[in-house]
């Protein structure tokens, strides 16, 4: 009776701690976002050049347009105006193309980037986990060596190099797959493969390392001794415990996949966020740079927050460790 009671109180205390932790992390997330917007705002303004300075435009015209957009006001007033707009969800209009709002650009480009990113994420998680399990479980030395070798190779090729090699081989030489755009499912194959290669290698290595460690532990050996088959023991017992470190990597990795890869989008001419970002910097399109940075920052921070909460929720130990030492160690 008392034991049950104590367990109940402990659980409640645990839930309360979890709730406090969640709120604290959310507050920190919002704060980071504000700092990010501030820093980027001032960074962008230090950049030499004006968004309206182009060949053949006289300085009077530039000044007039700058005045129209409020760029001649004290920088602090501009900052307050911008942040005020941001709070209302208003990203402002693009300086380069005054007829479009920054929000529209994001609305147009993000689904494109996200669809490629989600596909790459799915491929890398499935492939990485599968190969990782195989490497940890397989008794054949050759299988293990091939998987680790392939992993190291895949991790050694920069994403842009992989993209170019794939492009040269499959669309220039063999002409099997289209080289640019995103019109049909076939268009996705090359960019998704190029994007998924590196994370897949990392995931397979993390999975197999963690799984090997779990497979030496007493509970796994007990399950095997009980007569459970190797694969069943791995899937029902070991994998669950081994997957936490993997999850810790997948979170931030998915954030970067979802916000797009500048290089992949430029090589395969995909009209996504990364390309808009590079374009906005070359054009000194202040509002677009800011809007895209804040948006990408928000996605990254939200995904990292979700990963942390998921990890803490999955493992009470992590929750405790977080509270005690905030032992967060990842890129």
């Amino acid at each position: 009776m008392t034991a049950v009671c104590r367990e109940g109180t402990m659980r409640r205390a645990g839930e309360e701690r979890m709730l406090r932790y969640t709120l604290k992390r959310m507050l920190i997330g919002v704060l980071s976002l504000i700092v990010l917007a501030t820093v980027t705002f001032f960074l962008v303004r230090i950049m030499p050049g004006s968004p309206f300075q182009q060949g053949g435009v006289s300085s009077q015209v530039v000044e007039a347009v700058e005045e129209e957009y409020g760029l001649n006001e004290p920088i602090f007033t501009q900052y307050l105006n911008y942040m005020g707009g941001l709070l209302k969800g208003d990203f402002g209009i693009s300086y380069q193309d005054p007829s479009t709002e920054v929000a529209e650009v994001i609305k147009r480009a993000w689904p494109v980037t996200a669809s490629v990113g989600i596909a790459a994420l799915a491929v890398s998680v499935l492939l990485g986990t599968g190969l990782g399990i195989l490497r940890a479980v397989s008794e054949k030395r050759a299988v293990r060596e091939i998987i680790s070798g392939a992993g190291m190779l895949a991790a050694g090729i920069p994403t842009f190099a992989a993209a170019i090699l794939l492009l040269l081989l499959f669309s220039v030489r063999l002409k099997w797959l289209p080289a640019s755009g995103l019109l049909s499912p076939a268009h996705y194959i090359l960019p998704v493969t190029a994007l998924a290669l590196y994370p897949a290698a990392v995931i397979s290595r993390l999975t197999s390392n963690a799984l090997s460690a779990e497979m030496g532990k007493a509970y796994y050996l007990f399950a095997r001794a009980k007569g459970l088959g190797k694969w069943r023991a791995v899937f029902t017992h070991a994998l669950k415990n081994a997957y936490l470190p993997v999850l810790n990597y997948v979170g931030p990795a998915s954030a970067s996949l979802l916000t797009g890869s500048f290089v992949i989008e430029s090589i395969f001419t995909i009209p996504g966020l990364g390309r808009e970002f590079v374009g906005s910097i070359t054009n000194r399109d202040y509002t677009l740079i800011l809007g895209l940075t804040v948006f990408m920052g928000a996605v990254v921070i939200a995904v990292n927050l979700a990963t942390d909460l998921l990890c803490a929720w999955l493992s009470p130990e992590t929750g405790r460790a977080y509270k005690k030492a905030d032992g967060r160690q990842r890129k």
Partner: protein, 283 residues
């Protein structure tokens, strides 16, 4: 292998073949990167309109590019520059990261919380922005790209060192040192950090290929090293406009780059496995 160097080699690599192979490739790469531009018959920057876009021959082993520059000389010059940028920025990032992480981990409490949140915020800003900004203000070149790489590159090291210090500072020998009244800085430098040497070394080795990676990527986008200097990323970028006609111009530098990163990863992985240090290229 004998002596102190031999002992250190054994301690951190376990005498593994992978580490030896990695070091051999890396040494070869460094020798070529120094020797070819210095003693080779061709200049990496001299243009010659008569020998444009030639494929590999006895005179020009990697062929020539569209300005008639010898690609063999160019690629090795670029490899040297890439490696230089990688090593210098890894050392700077490693230094900053160790100091920052050690202070955070040892101080703990509010200091730790504030410093680590600041690091979180810095790491959440896309690094492209800093690098472009710095290259615009300082002019494109190795200096600005190293500076750009160092704005956020130290954070992974800081996190690892901080974790290690938090783990180690409650150890008996650290408590004993504190009770003896040894000042905190001395405890950190003489007692705690040497015990964290494994993970620090692993991370330091892996910082090099990461930096080489990022530099190549930035130069490829056209915001890194500017002409006439060339890193591997720049050479690949230059070959891009005619990659359908002359793919070899892109494949040679790509190959040199990939083997270089592979060698660095091999060394790192061997040290990682031996010291039980964590997260190499797998993070």
């Amino acid at each position: 292998m004998r002596g102190r160097a031999g002992r250190i080699w054994k301690k951190y690599t376990g005498g593994s073949k992978m580490a030896a192979a990695g070091c051999a490739i890396l040494a070869l790469w460094i020798i070529l990167a120094i020797a070819v531009p210095l003693f080779g018959p061709w200049s990496w920057s001299e243009q010659n309109a008569e020998i444009r876009n030639q494929t590999s021959s006895l005179a020009h082993w990697f062929g020539t590019d569209r300005f008639g520059r010898d690609l063999f000389a160019r690629v090795w010059y670029g490899a040297g520059l890439s490696l230089f940028i990688g090593i210098v920025s890894a050392l700077i990032n490693g230094g900053i990261g160790v100091m920052y992480g050690a202070v955070c981990g040892y101080a703990g409490g509010k200091t730790d919380m504030l410093l680590m949140r600041a690091a979180d915020i810095i790491s959440s800003i896309p690094s492209m922005l800093y690098v472009i900004l710095i290259t615009l203000v300082m002019g494109a070149g190795a200096g600005s790209i190293i500076l750009g790489l160092c704005v956020a590159g130290w954070i992974s090291m800081a996190r690892i060192v901080r974790g290690e210090i938090i783990r180690l500072k409650e150890a008996d020998y650290a408590c004993a040192a504190r009770m003896e009244g040894i000042p905190p800085l001395r405890i950190l430098v003489r007692h705690l950090l040497p015990n964290a040497a494994g993970p620090i070394l692993v991370n330091l080795i892996f910082l090099v290929p990461q930096a080489v990676f990022t530099e190549a990527f930035l130069s490829f986008l056209g915001v890194g090293i500017a002409a006439p200097a060339a890193s591997l990323g720049t050479i690949i970028q230059e070959a891009r406009s005619q990659m359908i006609l002359y793919p070899y111009q892109m494949i040679w530098p790509l190959l040199v780059l990939c083997v270089m990163i592979l060698a660095l990863n091999m060394i790192g992985t061997a040290v990682e496995e031996k010291t039980g240090g964590r997260r190499g290229w797998s993070e």
